[in-house]
């Protein structure tokens, strides 16, 4: 055991100095929820399915905007499975923590068709 202690002295520590050193996102993991508003039809199925009430519709129907609350989301992926147009995807971004509550709600606005 003493040998292991002495070996640990010589090695670099196993601690990750977050936020100066970050580990790469794991492919296939459930991270940030991104809604492609060009594909969204405003059906509201994702809102009905969300167990944490993390998604909100601003307006109604095909002209709606969407809001996603990071503070409520449990990253279960139900919205991704339910969307009939595959407009919602989950990226692998995991470091979503923030210091201000206003930054912890993302609005997805529909691009104005002119």
């Amino acid at each position: 055991m003493q040998n292991e202690l002495l070996k640990s002295l010589a090695k670099k520590p196993a601690t990750l100095l977050y936020p100066f050193e970050k580990y790469d996102s794991i492919p296939g993991s459930r991270g940030k929820v991104v809604i492609d508003m060009t594909k969204c039809i405003g059906c509201g199925l994702c809102i009905r399915d969300c167990p944490a009430f993390a998604l909100e519709m601003v307006g109604k129907g095909p002209t709606c905007d969407m809001k996603w609350y990071i503070t409520r989301c449990v990253f279960c992926g139900q919205c991704v499975e339910t969307c009939p147009r595959s407009a919602i995807i989950q990226e692998t971004t995991y470091d979503l923590a923030g210091a201000e509550k206003a930054a912890l709600m993302i609005e997805y606005k529909r691009p104005k068709s002119s």
């Binding site: 055991m1 003493q2 202690l5 640990s8 002295l9 090695k11 520590p13 196993a14 601690t15 100095l17």
Partner: protein, 326 residues
Amino acid sequence: MAWEVGLLSLLSVLIYPGIFFLVAVALFYQWVDRRFFARLQNRYGPIYTGPKGILQPVADLIKLLAKEDIEPSAVDRQIFRAAPVLILTMPLAALFMIPITGNWALVSFEGDLIFIIFLMTLIAILAFLGGWSSTNTFSTLGGMRAALQALGYEVPLAVSFMGPAILAGSLSVSKIVQWQASHGLWAILLNPLGFGIVIVAFLAELERIPFDIPEAETEIVAGWQTEFSGRKLALIRLALDLELVLASGLATALFLGGPTGPIPIIPGIVWFMAKTLVLVLIFANLRALFARFRIDQMVSGSWKYLVPLSIFQIVMLELLLGWLSF
């Protein structure tokens, strides 16, 4: 002329090598201990506060001083309030009798080694009183275990201290350091077993792993320190850091020759800090190496192994002295 001597004495007691310097050294050793202990466990330790994290113990102390001091309504008020203050003054008083800057301590008299042992016993009794006055089950358990552990380590520690005292023919720490300096040899060369026993017994006195039974975090929350918070806890933690300086300083003075070294140009304080740092690193290494003992294993192991070994060391020392005098 008299007032200048008085002022110099006052500055010695308050600043260097007095209270201010000792507290600074205690906080510095806490940093060294935490960094080395962490590196042994393959992690970093404090690295952010100040350069290389050296101000982390100061930051912890200031944080505790600023926190709310909650006093439960059922505690025994006088003892609960007095225990942290007294437990801080004991190591400070004992440290005045250890030579830090030169061969003579601030205070030295014949028999001050016994006085230091007495002060260290008082620290254990104050730990018991702090736990008892808290009227909390965890605190009472921790306090009882602290007192029981004191019964275990006191005897081998005191008997091992007699080794260097017999060599120097005196019970004054300053005279023992003087003897080692004038004879040019360290007492550890003639008392190696005694030094080993002192290291083990000091681990028990400082309540460090493997003998941190009185404040076993995973078992009884914080042991006898559970109910202390805010300023009282700050004083207790500072007292425990000062105890580390006291233990390594006393072991250095008795066995490793104190603040003396082969090269005379380098001041004594540098030798003292170097030797005590080595001891702090040894303590940290032993902390990382072992698991915690049970209280009955500790006390019975101490009486079954440490006490006979310390008596054996004294016998061997006497035989060696008798043989050497031929």
